[in-house]
Symmetry: C2
Subunit: 236 residues, 2 copies
């Protein structure tokens, strides 16, 4: 390739990286806002989370389009090809994280409309959100630094989020059994906690993609499983 | 392109189509088996569903690899490029359908282990599974025939599955309020019905991909929404 071609190719990859960084920032913000909205039944904040998701969808579409055009135009091989594939995969996972945060926000609007509040469940969900957000940030840093070791560390820690979800699940079940008036809000919160756990699955996907990007290796099919309470089979 | 190149290119696309057809058949079977397993608490059948998922994952990996290599080697444009992109997207959606069927099967093993049976909820879930399976079959036929009109029809019918989920949700909520002993099985069945609804979302994705493949057009961002019971915000 001529120097000019190489330069413009680098620019294309840089543009992909910039868009992914923007998506990551937006998803992190949506995630933390969605839990704030849930805790305070703040419908206005929930609406802002929902509307941010459009930007995430648009960015994902642009990344896919650019990556495919780069592959078709430049026929990259090995690491450069993996850069393009990784960009498509990671943007897909961040977009799904945004969808899950949006869903949390939508449940807030429903709970608020029905005047349902179950403050007791908030600390558990908040702990899940903290962990999910910190793992997401870590894995996006691992991507930015092309650091497979850091990615593997995040990958192996997904079990912690699973364990937290087990405990939230048990707690919600107890609340429902104690008082039938808790049943309706608790069903929504069950889905909230499941959504937070699924965010962890996407973080794990991103970790696998970072390892593949840098090393060309595919991670083992079996993911680490924590000591899960038998009533909560791993959702996927 | 020489005649030889064209021929071998066609063969590559045909191979992609064959693998997607195989994935579709497997996912349809997993879906119907998972509901049979749930109805009869048939743990052995549930295990078969779980183990079939490995094959689905392998096929998806092969499709992604082949499609990307085809793009890189042959630099296809317009319809041929869309063929490759569509193959990657559709295989991703079928793989997710398999994951959701696997999750249904896993819940069966948990319900069986705890001796929980709630026969009353089965007809609603069975109706959801019938509809999800029939829509999945329709959209895969639309893909095989490259028929965007048929795909749009499936796309517009996703609201029916949403409406069914609303009714199952309400029914499960009532069961829980009637008798606290129903709470534990019902929480599992809530997730089962949510999983079936999410299969409908993947069918809708596939419909959008078929339209994009044939026409080059992207469907509107807003999906049709049925008259949803306000307590069940669209999961995504």
């Amino acid at each position: 390739m001529s120097e000019h071609t190489v330069k413009s190719y680098d620019q294309e990859l840089e543009a992909l990286n910039r868009m992914i960084a923007e998506m990551g920032g937006l998803a992190e913000k949506m995630l933390s806002d969605s839990i704030d909205a849930l805790e305070n039944l703040d419908v206005e904040l929930a609406h802002r989370v929902v509307s941010t998701d459009t930007r995430l969808d648009l960015l994902q579409g642009k990344i896919e389009e650019s990556a495919v055009l780069t592959i078709a135009r430049r026929q990259p091989m090995a690491i450069d090809l993996r850069e393009c594939i990784a960009a498509v995969r990671i943007s897909g996972d961040i977009e799904r994280v945004g969808d899950l945060a949006k869903n949390l926000a939508r449940r807030t609007t429903v709970l608020a409309a029905e005047g349902l509040k179950l403050q007791r469940a908030i600390p558990g969900l908040r702990a899940m959100q903290d962990m999910a957000a910190s793992q997401l940030k870590d894995v996006l840093d691992a991507y930015a630094e092309r650091d497979p070791e850091r990615a593997k560390l995040v990958w192996s820690e997904d079990t912690k989020l699973d364990a937290l979800e087990d405990s939230v699940f048990r707690d919600l079940l107890t609340s429902m059994m104690e008082d039938p008036r808790n049943i309706s809000p608790c069903t929504h919160l069950l889905f909230c906690s499941k959504n937070l756990e699924r965010i962890g699955d996407h973080t794990t996907n991103i970790a696998e993609t970072v390892v593949y990007l840098v090393t060309g290796q595919t991670m083992p099919l079996d993911r680490p499983k924590g000591s899960r309470w038998p009533s909560v089979p791993g959702d996927s």
